[in-house]
């Protein structure tokens, strides 16, 4: 009995609740005779779409700055890269590549500045990261409206100033990864290209965490005093973690956008950090500990929940948007839970 309790404690109550809830939803989906194949395709697609944004949490947690609530800063770098690549009139894979290169460059600069900020506000990184992200998003709103872009793909067709709220990527890099090596198995779609790209990046992050710098960064994160004593520059390690997280945020939003088919400007990135935070927490990460496995498990569980909940709740309650409410409760509830566990874990 005590072993069972220990197992549950290790595994985490929240994860058990989420898995039970998910099983319940699957049973309901079968009972309602929903299209299992399209559900599975949906889960695979949505998990791939969001995986990199969740992966961006790993370096920031490992370097000791906690969950990166300011992920929207990285997201905006990626969006800016995409906007510039559209303005250059590029298409297809080349547009995606240029957007990534530009996005990464912006993210390195932005991540460095953000890292400097986080080093001055130790122990309050998550709160200040949130508001740093919020203010940058609303500051960029002014940029989108005032920036002198001329490309007809992005500005309003008749009158109206500034860029559109959502820019269609149909003529640029819509689904470049999703359609690359798309496998069809009995009606189940597996976007191998997308997953290849994600696995490559997961592998890169994993390899980095095994490298000398990566191990130093993790030491700085888990035990700053010990790290300091053994000659590691804790502050610069935290900056490296923040830069990596911001870069992954920029790359992540480009993967998200190519899969979604639209680039979302203005206030859309405001709350984009929260689902990524919730996903990695559902995967079993804490504010101090995170691994690639947490990213993969968490993103699949969270996205599966969202994908299956939508048709199930719509079948039960056609009016209203119950699945959206469920999403708000679960994702924010899990973040609150994690925050109350910080002190208890020590």
């Amino acid at each position: 009995m005590s072993q069972i309790k220990k197992f549950i404690d290790n595994f985490g109550y929240t994860r058990i609740i989420i898995i039970l809830f998910l099983i319940l939803l699957f049973i309901a989906a079968f009972a309602l005779e929903l299209q299992t194949k399209s559900l599975i395709s949906g889960i695979l697609n949505r998990a791939g779409m969001n995986m990199l944004l969740t992966l961006a949490m790993v370096p920031s947690i490992q370097s000791g700055t906690g969950l990166n609530f300011g992920l929207s800063i990285g997201i905006l770098c990626g969006v800016l890269g995409a906007v510039l690549s559209i303005a250059m009139d590029l298409t297809g894979g080349r547009a995606f590549f240029v957007a990534n290169v530009l996005g990464i460059l912006f993210a390195i600069v932005a991540g460095y500045v953000y890292g400097l900020l986080l080093n001055r506000v130790k122990t309050q990184e998550m709160l200040i990261g949130t508001y740093a992200g919020f203010s940058v998003v609303s500051g960029m709103c002014m940029f989108w409206i005032l920036a002198p872009f001329k490309s007809p793909k992005m500005i309003w067709p008749y009158g109206g100033r500034g860029l559109r709220v959502t820019v269609s990527l149909e003529d640029t890099f819509d689904k470049v990864l999703n359609n690359f090596l798309l496998g069809q198995y009995n009606g189940i779609e597996v976007p191998w290209g997308l997953y290849g790209y994600i696995i490559l990046l997961c592998l890169a992050v994993w390899l980095f965490s095994r490298s000398k710098t990566g191990i130093a960064m993790q030491t700085a994160g888990s035990n700053p005093r010990f790290a300091e004593a053994s000659g590691i520059n804790v502050d610069s390690m935290r900056i490296i973690g923040t830069i990596l997280s911001t870069v992954l945020g920029a790359m992540g939003i480009l993967v998200y956008a190519q899969s979604y088919g639209f680039l979302q400007l203005y206030t859309a990135p405001l709350y984009m950090a929260f689902p990524a935070v919730a996903a990695i927490l559902i995967g079993g990460a804490t504010v101090r500990k995170a691994s690639i496995a947490h990213v993969i498990i968490g993103t699949f569980l969270f996205q599966a929940l969202l994908v299956v909940a939508l048709p199930v709740t719509n079948a039960v309650l056609p009016e209203g948007n119950l699945s959206e409410v469920v999403r708000i409760i679960i994702s924010n509830g899990i973040i609150v839970y994690a925050l109350t566990r910080i002190g208890g874990g020590e």
Partner: protein, 360 residues
């Protein structure tokens, strides 16, 4: 010390309000707004928002930081308002019933918030913010599915056509200006709701008085140092819960005053920005995470809402796009919170470093 040095010191200590005063002045000149128009708009907004901003003071004094969880108080008020509208109790009576009804709800919400925040010591602010988002989900669950779905409720005026859930906007015609109209002075477009301001002033005095009592002393002691408070026999957790409960109840009443003036309840939106705007207001007034006074709350609310009125007008004049001004004020609200929280955290870190150096 010479006068000049005094002024210099005064400006340095109140840099945030000074900067925002200058910003407002420049904005007013650019926008070419008439001072009378600005005054009358700002008076309305002061009456609407002051109590909500006051509700932040007690948790700051008690060391919990800025309570973004006042959103839960606003939710309690809105639940009470929907009930009052449903029962069709109108006028000042309806307002008073809503005020009474919101008390047990906000005490419950405040107690729960306090319990959660006690488990997240050192991270109260972000936890209270996330708790607000979480509670918003439960609030939507209540208003979209439980009312009419689980709890039987029939009312065509405020419910969705399907009979389950509350409409997006609920007209509060019954209690619009219920408090404002009792005693008021009008002069052109300027209307001063005397009774509303009297009620607000009463709460300001009550907060001041409370902080002088034994309970207030204990709250302040907890705010200064939890360990010292605990060793001197104060039940720290209980004090913190009391502080949050008082804040939540005040926020509920503040939201009632706010909504009786506006007269329309955006069922799923009225409460969302309450925490953000109140926190930004009090910070603009020169408050910090550990220090907040009634004066700072009043000054900050005045400056913040002045800027709120001016920035779309200035945006229109400068670039011919009022939208820019609206984004600008969102930027200011988020930015001012971010910057002042960052400054505070930085100062604290610096102080700790100095202390360490001294010990060595």
């Amino acid at each position: 010390m010479s006068l000049l040095q005094n002024i210099k010191k005064g400006i340095r200590n109140n840099i945030v309000p000074v900067v925002f005063t200058i910003l407002c002045l420049v904005g007013a000149i650019v926008a070419q707004a008439s001072p009378f128009f600005l005054l009358s708009s700002v008076v309305v907004r002061l009456a609407r928002n002051l109590l909500l901003v006051f509700s932040l003071i007690i948790p700051v004094v008690s060391g919990l930081g800025l309570n973004f969880g006042i959103v839960l108080g606003a939710m309690a008020a809105q639940i009470a308002l929907v009930a009052v509208t449903h029962w069709n109790i109108t006028g000042l009576g309806g307002f008073v019933v809503a005020a009474i009804l919101s008390v047990p709800l906000s005490i419950l919400f405040g107690w729960l918030t306090g319990k959660v925040l006690n488990k997240a010591k050192g991270n109260e602010m972000i936890t209270s913010m996330m708790l607000g988002f979480f509670a918003n989900g439960l609030y939507q669950l209540l208003f979209l599915f439980i009312l009419g779905g689980v709890i039987p409720m029939v009312n065509e005026a405020i419910m969705l056509p399907s009979g389950i859930g509350i409409k997006n906007t609920v007209s509060l015609r019954g209690i619009k200006y219920a408090l404002d109209d009792v005693i008021k002075i009008s002069y052109g477009s300027l209307t001063i709701p005397i009774l509303t301001f009297a009620v607000i002033a009463l709460f300001a005095l009550a907060i001041k008085f409370l902080l002088q009592t034994k309970l207030g002393q204990e709250l302040r002691c907890v705010g200064q140092d939890m360990n010292i408070a605990a060793t001197s026999g104060i039940d720290v957790d209980k004090m913190r819960i009391i502080a949050v409960i008082m804040s939540t109840v005040l926020a509920a009443w503040g939201q009632l005053i706010h909504l009786q003036n506006i007269g329309i309840l955006q069922t799923y939106g009225s409460h969302e920005q309450v925490g953000l705007f109140a926190v930004a207001s009090i910070l603009i007034g020169g408050a910090s995470v550990t220090k907040a006074t009634i004066g700072q709350a009043v000054l900050g609310t005045f400056l913040f809402h002045l800027l709120f009125i001016i920035s779309p007008m200035a945006g229109q004049q400068l670039v011919g796009e009022p939208q820019v001004g609206e984004y600008f004020r969102a930027f200011v609200a988020y930015g001012v919170i971010g910057v002042s929280l960052a400054l505070h955290a930085w100062q604290k870190q610096q102080a700790q470093k100095d202390k360490l150096k001294q010990e060595i």
